[in-house]
Symmetry: C2
Subunit: 303 residues, 2 copies
């Protein structure tokens, strides 16, 4: 049976890399040469022009990091800003990553009632119903999901694990305001550990050959104590760890979280890799490749 | 100053209606005449065909309910399934509602770190930066937002209240699994009331001439005790109340929640209105108009 967790583990082992490259394209930081090439002839073509610029930029980054990153994480928000053309650029970006054999974690943080969740699942992974053929959707490998609505919000995505897809549930996020709800004390434990309990329960039936579940957790590097607690609660889950690089989280303490032959986590860096060219290297692709490789070495081997 | 809450209140008062019509288009329930008209010539055009069908269907519903509904709530998930064409249909649906002077609550339940939240805000409401002109985005009036990431997730949208936009924060949702997190006891109060506290705090600076805040709350009709508690905690907020109709919530107890000249809430019904044609009326538009008017009468006058 095809498991997302096995595809991710295989990529980590083959590339000896725990790096996830976040694809967060923003107009203000596009390389000048790309901006020049895509400048629209008229204001009416703004969305199309930006979307084409983003698609080329992301393709360049993907190609550059394909040897050193274990996976990529496109952030849907940055594409959605530009409407239908932006969505098309997101679709192309997912397809480009898959063409380079890079698992794609679609960062959408969706979460809704069950009937709506099925629609969001289809948007991420495809499936029936179209008129006569199943819809394609974005054809991502995995998706991030928000737990506020409870099991209803998670189950439609967890069900897709049987079709080889993966889910990362927000448990303890990396942002400054994360504590407002996530750190609230519930029966002597922070709320986020109650969410981790739900992840363990939902993920138990979906474990691949490498020993990891297809249902993982998002835990920020900016909260080291939470990282240790979540790893203890979820010894078989892949952790998606944002918050290093631009957000300031440290990588030193991550080594102790390693489990199994593929480490059991990936560390996401977005801006510090894709905009590394702004630190002096002329070519954004070479700068991204160098930054991804530097993080790969910093994180050490997976096993 | 232009306030979202004043536009919504004016619409409620003018139409004497507390009804929000949810626009949740699904292939399986499109009227046969529309399916026939939009059937694609080849499987390659599936997404375009479904999107065109949805756009026509939603335009028909909007026109039919424009006199009896206070506002509409398109659910983004149902459009996202069909990729870029689906997003275009969503854009057209929002524009159609605004052309009928119906405030649009875009149901997206987004929630992310601050820099990403700004991108989601732009997707919903538009704004700079494009190449030379501000991007249009979906140009909705208000948006639903998920609170799991804390203030960071809410603030980018709350900031848009200064530009006449509105926000509805998920507080106590209508789905069966809502209790998993939302009802957890934190310091003697359910978690959802802690979220309501954040809504009160964030909404206090954004109150319009009708006395309502531009920052409202989503509270399901399926949880009557929660409805009363949230109303007590948020006497100046607009409540967006889903869960009647197909989800089974009752409308009898809603009258006691009324505050001010415009009631201070809208009750959303989606499937029971837009698919009322499946109960026997041949024309889906007339069936939707009748179902919306029946709910309007059931809810009584706003004041």
């Amino acid at each position: 049976m095809d498991h997302f967790s096995d595809r991710l583990a295989s990529s980590i082992v083959a590339r000896r890399s725990l790096v996830c490259v976040g694809l967060d394209p923003v107009m203000e930081r596009m390389p000048p040469a790309l901006l020049e090439r895509h400048r629209p002839a008229a204001a009416a073509g703004e969305d199309e022009a930006v979307a084409a610029c983003f698609a080329e930029f992301c393709a360049g980054v993907i190609e550059a990091v394909a040897g050193t990153a274990a996976c990529v994480k496109p952030q849907a928000a940055f594409f959605e800003q530009y409407g239908a053309p932006g969505w098309r650029a997101l679709t192309e970006t997912v397809a480009c990553a898959r063409a380079h054999d890079l698992p794609v974690i679609l960062d959408v943080k969706r979460g809704d009632i069950a009937s709506t969740g099925v629609a969001y699942r289809r948007a991420a992974f495809g499936g029936a119903p179209g008129f006569t053929a199943p819809v394609a959707g974005l054809a991502a490998d995995a998706v991030t999901v928000s737990p506020y609505l409870g099991d209803d919000a998670l189950t439609p995505f967890v069900d897709a694990c049987a079709d080889g897809r993966g889910v990362f549930v927000l448990v303890r996020t990396s942002n400054p305001g994360a504590g407002l709800l996530q750190e609230l004390d519930v029966d002597g434990r922070p709320l986020y550990l109650h969410v981790a309990g739900a992840v363990a329960r939902l993920g138990a039936p979906h474990v691949g050959d490498h020993g990891y579940s297809d249902v993982g957790a998002v835990v920020g590097a900016t909260a080291p104590a939470a990282l240790r607690a979540v790893r203890a609660a979820l010894p078989h889950a892949f952790l998606l760890i944002p918050g290093v690089g631009a957000q300031g989280g440290a990588t030193e303490a991550l080594g102790e979280l390693k489990v199994g032959d593929a480490g059991g986590y990936v560390v996401n860096a977005s801006r510090s890799i894709i905009y590394a060219w702004q630190e002096g290297e002329a070519d954004y692709r070479r700068a991204a490749a160098d930054a991804a490789d530097a993080l790969r070495r910093e994180l050490g081997p997976p096993g």
